[in-house]
Symmetry: C2
Subunit: 298 residues, 2 copies
């Protein structure tokens, strides 16, 4: 991966500050990106073949921030608009800069020194079939005067919500327990609280896990963050395989499109990543790649 | 119209404070609501008849706020999902309450005393034809320790933007000039600035007029606010008549759906009315009636 120069937080500071080298974190995120893209492309190809539809591939787009504005770094957005994946966006980015005044007090460790560094990966998949949940996964490593890992994954089904929720959460618990017996309870609760539409008094989906502010100097936290990506990839693959064959009609699609409008509302009204990105002059296409391809309101 | 009791700001205070009686303002807003609904229903009927489609009517829904939570008042939402109007929402409401702590400093005259009273009407029309612009109109009267009128109207065309913009603005100028020679310049500029998607560096539509904080004790300001409603109704009627016959295909619709996604982004990320409503525990269906029936993202 192309190395960027981070003039805001010196490379040297990043190198010396952490037990886990920043380079290692970035490389790990890149591996997860590659795993997810290749897994999703295989699924798209496999089920496309069954249906004899035109083959659709991921397309990649690089973007860079404007160094003249003290905005450094950039990223790669991979997007697939297919016949199984109606739209899936996979973003990977490493950026640095100075947080705007009205925002620095909202970011941990930035109130006295607004410089930041952030590297992360995020995935949002909206599926054609109303029977396959929308899926979201994200891992991030953020440096201000503090440094921490964050991330998580969650599902938004329209049908079979109870079954999917039960299975997903039992697998999540097994996964989390390998790292810390408190993780599942803590982070599944945080997830339900986070992905909540206050104005509608409803959750966005069936939850999952959401973690933030995990001390960047604990190997356990790095491993947990890193493995969330492959866990997500494997689980979502199984769900797709299970539900992809189920036939659906227009009524099912209409219900999916309504559900997606809540996804839009959440992301634009509440999502920290979206706000963070738009406020720090991030790449709009990359930030709003999470938007569904089509959504409807009553 | 049903009179509500406003325990937060006493009726008596509202009666005595203003040159123009609050009752008169509410009655005027109700007349505008009726004019707009009947005009739109006639247009829907007329062009429906030409096409032999099933006749669609406005449906009305009353809502009230929860007095037990010190939230008073309510409103009526009228919605038409037709064949000319894909979705048009007309809201009229009179509410009062106490602004939440994190919000009172953002509202004029509320930082020391967070009680508020607000009455208003708002209209958002999304049309089936990609050749008829989306249209928005709003009038409001707000009382805190200050009291003022606000409102405006604007258009969001997808095609013929230049022609529509030129004609609309020249009519707006004539309209504004009747009240104050400075109004058009001032409020068309404010409109362009307000309906602006900063993250995309683009305007929502072709603008119009947007005014706020007009002294509630000047008859001129009341008349201007009141007449904006009938002006909007007349102009939009003419535009509909002009463009309703123009044939369109799927490509045109796709472009319309993309444009609508910007409408969604604006309303959820920037719109003061939406934020005000959601933060003051307003009626969600009424607030989000402005959402398009269907929208798409790249």
């Amino acid at each position: 991966m192309k190395k960027y120069k981070f003039k805001i937080i010196p490379d040297q500071m990043l190198e010396e500050k952490f037990l886990i080298k920043v380079n290692k974190i970035e490389t790990n995120f890149l591996e997860i990106r590659n795993l997810i893209c290749s897994t999703f492309q295989s699924l798209e190809n496999e089920f496309n073949l069954n249906r004899n539809l035109e083959k659709k591939n991921f397309s990649k787009k690089k973007w860079r921030r404007d160094n003249n504005k003290n905005e450094y770094g950039g990223g790669v957005s991979s997007i697939l608009k297919g016949n199984l994946f109606e739209k899936v966006g996979v973003n990977i980015s490493t950026v640095s800069g100075i947080l705007p005044d009205d925002f620095k007090n909202k970011i941990k460790g930035a109130s006295n020194d607004p410089r930041f560094f952030a590297t992360g990966i995020s995935v949002v998949a909206h599926m054609f079939s109303p029977f396959i949940p929308a899926a979201h996964y994200n891992s991030r490593f953020i440096v201000t005067q503090d440094a921490w890992f964050g991330g998580g994954c969650d599902l938004t089904p329209v049908y079979n919500e109870k079954i999917i929720k039960h299975k997903f959460h039992s697998l999540l618990k097994n996964f989390c327990d390998q790292y810390d017996k408190n993780f599942y309870n803590k982070y599944s609760k945080l997830c339900s609280e986070y992905f909540f539409l206050k104005h509608r008094n409803e959750e966005r989906g069936v939850g999952g896990i959401f973690f933030d502010y995990l001390d960047a100097n604990a190997i356990k936290n790095f491993n947990f963050t890193a493995e969330t990506g492959s866990f997500f990839c494997s689980i979502f693959k199984d769900i797709i395989k299970k539900y992809q064959n189920k036939t659906w009609n227009l009524k099912h699609r209409e219900k999916l499109l309504k559900k997606r409008s809540r996804y839009v509302e959440f992301n634009l009204l509440y999502d920290k990543g979206t706000t963070f990105g738009l406020k720090t002059n991030g790449n709009v296409d990359a930030i709003l790649m999470s938007m569904p391809p089509i959504a409807s309101w009553d």
